[in-house]
């Protein structure tokens, strides 16, 4: 015999103002199985919860129905209260009479009537609730960090610091990411390499950290605590274990006309290369698209081979193949970072026409001591010193059209102030103009930094936007723009134009999100589990977000989030096992046909089949193929329950009979 307790919450006046809570409690007290039906001011309060606990003990309740706010709000609260009083937490049901009743209806009579029906549905359901016990599943004590920029490096270092193994997978030949390409950092103007490269070295030397450079994650299976990732180590035609990074091969390579990706194509490098002097791992890589030997198709042919001849340790291996590594992980951190957008669609800025119109990241390389000009700022077209430079803000950011991105890229205001300042510092004869819409400088010491650019370095900040950039025959560039404050249109004869290009998530992010079954927004940024309260977790358990893959960020923010993601991952890895959601599917073997329909629709691969012996009439037996669900893998979506024609598959907590009972109660 069921003994059900019903508790109706006033939620102050939130419910009580439009729903006659006394009438609801009264009406529900007559439902079958209900032994106690009360109302109370605030059910979620300590006193309200005690009401439930006391009733469970006093009446020996077998089910509890709370008519209150959304179960998304306080289901857990009441489940915990029930558990504390010795009732299985899954014997609690919530009737949502606030969000889905009192808040949307005005008429007390009909709202009360609806609240009673919702209460009856919950009672009908709780009659069929069964006690559920959450299972446990073990946690693999190893983390995977996808992306080896500053975010990935910081996350890996923090996790390793806590004593767990970490693998970094980086698609480029070296870790370091975008920060390695940056010259100086705001707001302190210290050199990026000086602060980044020690961290890169630390990561490479940490015995808990394994770096898979020139690698990709090609498949991820499993679930929180128990992921299995396949890492594809792309062939770089150099044996990483033998290469000493001496660079002899790069010097002898006859194919020196390969655009240098590290310098954004502003100069050339060899077909065999080490991206930059402080690369980690410092190992050469052969670009098969340009290598004279590999391009031939048949490596046995007697072509070139100079790098192999120059290598004293025999590290060059033209026969190398892609290698696949499979590894188990308890936690995965995504740190895939960002890229500047392509500017093909912005003809008005003449980026594709004129080499002296550059992006801000290109300017970083042009100014960097390890860059194409050895640190002297020269125009890419004629290698002369620019005397007038125009910076354009918000190129592709804050765009409500198909060309750009709707969001603010966040970092451009600050790095433009940095660029302007560095140029004025080093070349006081160069005039610098910055066209801005708004200067956004929230951040510690950020506005002071911007003000310094204006007040101390005399950078001309003009509120307005550049409308048109026209390269002229004399090599200068006409910049036509509006000055909104003086209400005039300007023409500036510039030597160089720098575009503060919008940033977007890396292209690898979307396929990765599919692989990880994590969510992304329309801009391909990973979606955090909660915009305010869970900013470094993805909605998929066990997957954490680090750095600009979640949204535009500067270096300090990236590092902060990287460490936060690491601490979340560590919090998971220290556990020996995690509690599973008990609302999972299960198969009734007596009815199962073994037809595989359920397996085909399961997004988690939670269903497997086995042959089992069943008794048949006349003391005979028969072997039948039947499905079984791995409760640790199942997430409880219920797709299988509908695919199953015989109804053998059912879902705990949302069983066929429970939902039917709700339908019946509502339609009564």
């Amino acid at each position: 015999m069921q003994k059900i307790g019903v508790f109706v919450c006033h939620c102050g006046t939130n419910i009580a103002a439009t729903v006659d809570v006394k009438a609801v409690a009264e009406a529900l007290s007559h439902e079958a199985g209900v032994v106690i039906s009360q109302e109370y001011q605030y059910m979620c309060s300590e006193a309200g919860q005690n009401l439930v606990k006391d009733a469970i003990k006093e009446h020996g309740l077998t089910g509890v129905v709370i008519c209150s706010c959304s179960p998304r709000m306080h289901e857990n609260t009441f489940r915990k209260a029930a558990a504390a009083a010795g009732l299985n937490p899954y014997l609690v049901e919530i009737a949502n009479i606030r969000e889905q009743c009192s808040w949307i209806h005005k008429d007390i009579a009909t709202a009360t009537e609806k609240a009673i029906i919702l209460g009856k549905a919950a009672i009908a359901k709780v009659h069929l609730n069964t006690p559920l016990v959450a299972g446990e599943s073990p946690v693999a004590k190893r983390a995977l960090v996808i992306g080896g920029g500053i975010a990935g490096i910081q996350t890996a270092l923090d996790i390793a610091e806590a004593g767990f193994e970490v693998d970094i997978v980086e698609k480029e030949a070296t870790i370091g990411g975008k920060m390695a390409q940056i010259d100086k950092t705001f707001p302190t103007l210290d050199c990026a390499a000086c602060i980044l490269t020690p961290k890169m070295v630390e990561a490479s030397q940490n015995e808990k950290i394994t770096i898979h450079s020139y690698s990709e994650v090609s498949a991820v299976k499993g679930f929180i605590g128990n992921f299995t990732a396949t890492i594809k180590k792309k062939r770089r035609f150099v044996d990483e274990t033998k290469c000493t990074g001496c660079g002899a091969c790069t010097e002898v390579c006859p194919m020196q006309k390969v655009p240098n990706a590290f310098n954004l194509g502003l100069n050339n490098r060899g077909a065999v290369y080490i991206p930059f002097a402080q690369a980690v791992p410092k190992v050469a890589t052969i670009d098969a698209n340009y290598c004279l030997k590999l391009r031939k198709g048949d490596v046995n042919e007697k072509v070139c081979g100079k790098c192999a001849a120059a290598c004293t340790v025999g590290a060059i291996n033209y026969h190398q193949q892609d290698e696949y590594i499979e590894q188990k992980y308890g936690a995965i951190v995504v740190a895939t970072g960002f890229n500047p957008i392509k500017l093909d669609k912005y003809d008005e800025f003449a980026y594709n026409q004129c080499p002296d119109v550059v992006t801000s990241l290109e300017l970083e390389r042009l100014m960097n001591a390890a860059g194409p000009n050895g640190g002297t700022l020269l125009r890419p077209s004629d290698k002369t010193h620019p005397h007038k430079i125009v910076f354009v803000q918000c190129v592709g950011s804050r765009c409500d059209d198909s060309k750009g991105k709707p969001y603010c890229s966040k970092i451009c205001c600050m790095y433009t102030a940095k660029h302007a300042m560095l140029i004025r510092e080093k070349y006081p004869d160069t005039e610098v103009y910055v066209f801005y819409i708004d200067v956004r400088t929230p951040g510690k010491n950020f506005d002071e930094f911007y003000r310094r650019a204006v007040e101390q370095y005399n950078v001309h900040y003009i509120k307005g936007m550049v409308g048109k950039v026209t390269p002229k025959a004399d090599g200068t560039i006409d910049v036509q723009a509006s000055d909104l404050l003086s209400n005039e249109q300007l023409h500036i004869d510039a030597d160089m134009v720098v575009l503060a290009t919008a940033i977007e998530p890396d292209k690898t992010a979307r396929p990765l999100a599919t692989m990880l079954t994590t969510q992304m927004d329309t801009n391909d940024f990973f979606t955090e589990a909660h915009a305010k309260l869970r900013p470094v977790e993805s909605a998929t358990a066990g997957i954490f977000l680090s750095g600009a893959c979640q949204g535009p960020k500067d270096i300090p923010e990236t590092v902060a989030q990287a460490s936060a993601a690491a601490s979340k991952a560590i919090g998971l890895l220290v556990k020996d096992s995690i509690t599973c959601n008990p609302c999972v599917a299960h198969s009734n073997e007596l009815m199962c046909n073994g037809c595989s329909a359920c397996e085909k629709v399961c997004p988690y691969g939670a269903i497997t089949y086995q042959d089992k012996e069943f008794r048949t009439p006349y003391r005979t037996t028969v072997m039948r193929r039947v499905a079984s669900v791995n409760p640790a893998v199942c997430q409880g979506c219920g797709a299988c329950t509908v695919a199953c024609p015989s109804g053998a598959m059912d879902l705990n907590g949302f069983s066929n009979s429970q939902i039917m009972a709700e339908v019946d109660a509502i339609c009564k």
């Binding site: 046909n593 595989s596 015989s646 009979s657």
Partner: protein, 323 residues
């Protein structure tokens, strides 16, 4: 044909390829052919029948039979092979334990159509091209074969065997048929007319479950309508809702799995055109998700267990056709 099949069966039994044969034997009347299992040459000589009334698709019997000890020989018409393939795909039969001999089929006769012409006391038929000679206790009658051909054979979709170990005779081709004509006709009626049509048809249902029992897709260990936990358990339809419910759910459960063998309508004692429900699903699947023939192979995902991100929305139902 019968002789060729008998000698094939006896040969396969003799050389040990199979231990049993599933075929047919005569029932009470000449047109009343039922499936039967034969374990020896003697039994085959005595009872094995294959004639123009032998329609029953035996593939469903193989769900149980193929799980038994020893290989079984099954003679399958082209349409039956689709059913077997579908069962193989769903792991319902042990294909390795079945020896399939494909037999050609030029259409089966519908006894009800013959009886409807007022002919009774039938003792046998003989087919001579397009003419059918019927011997009855009252004398002989002749008529055109086409007039009394089974409906499922009139709209035959394929003469090709999609699975077999051996063939008797030549294999045919997949043929185009006008099998969706009636579905289309209904689609072009008004909602009210369709409702009246189906009310008229479905209200005849006596819930004998013959459609379910003959259907080679309905092979559930335990039908959802027999399951007390399913919430839809019922033995006999008490009113129009339950008639609807049973047939909608049954059609939905076999959607994407139904090979359109037409057995449901053939066996319906009330002559309800049940195959139209299945064909409606097949037609929708073909037009919305691409041509799909259940049982054509054993690997393709069933349309309801599959999806593309570009699938049409359910609102397409509201947008097309007659209101």
């Amino acid at each position: 044909m019968q002789e060729a099949m008998i000698s094939k069966a006896k040969q396969l039994l003799a050389d040990g390829t199979v231990t049993r044969v599933i075929g047919w034997k005569k029932g009470e009347f000449a047109y009343d052919i039922t499936p039967a299992i034969f374990e020896s040459s003697e039994e085959i000589d005595r009872d094995f029948v294959y004639d123009d009334f032998t329609s029953t698709n035996v593939s469903k019997y193989l769900v149980k039979e193929s799980k038994k000890e020893g290989k079984i020989l099954a003679f399958l018409k082209p349409c039956d092979t689709y059913s077997l393939n579908q069962l193989t795909k769903e792991h319902r039969v042990d294909r390795d334990n079945i020896y399939v001999v494909g037999i050609p089929s030029d259409g089966k006769l519908d006894i009800e159509k013959i009886k409807a012409k007022g002919i009774t006391g039938i003792t046998g038929v003989e087919r001579d091209g397009e003419t059918l000679k019927i011997s009855t206790v009252y004398g002989d009658e002749t008529m055109s074969v086409a007039d009394v051909m089974s409906n499922k054979c009139i709209s035959c979709k394929s003469k090709k065997h999609v699975t077999y170990d051996e063939l008797i005779g030549e294999d045919g081709e997949v043929i185009t048929s006008d099998r969706f004509d009636m579905v289309e006709k209904l689609e072009n009626m008004t909602s009210e007319e369709r409702y009246n049509f189906w009310r008229g048809e479905l209200s005849k249902c006596i819930r004998c479950n013959a459609c379910r029992n003959v259907c080679p897709a309905c092979t559930c260990e335990n039908c959802v309508f027999n399951n007390p936990d399913s919430g839809v358990e019922n033995k006999a339809a008490a009113d129009s809702f339950e008639e609807n419910m049973f047939h909608i759910i049954r059609a939905f459960h076999v959607a994407g799995r139904c090979t359109d063998c037409g057995e449901c309508s053939r066996v319906c004692p009330q002559n309800i055109p049940l195959h139209l429900l299945n064909r409606k699903f097949i037609k929708d699947i073909n037009s919305l998700y691409g041509e799909y023939q259940a049982g054509a192979d054993t690997t393709t995902k069933a349309p309801l267990n599959d999806y593309t991100t570009e699938d049409c929305e359910a609102s397409i139902v509201h947008e097309r056709g007659v209101e």
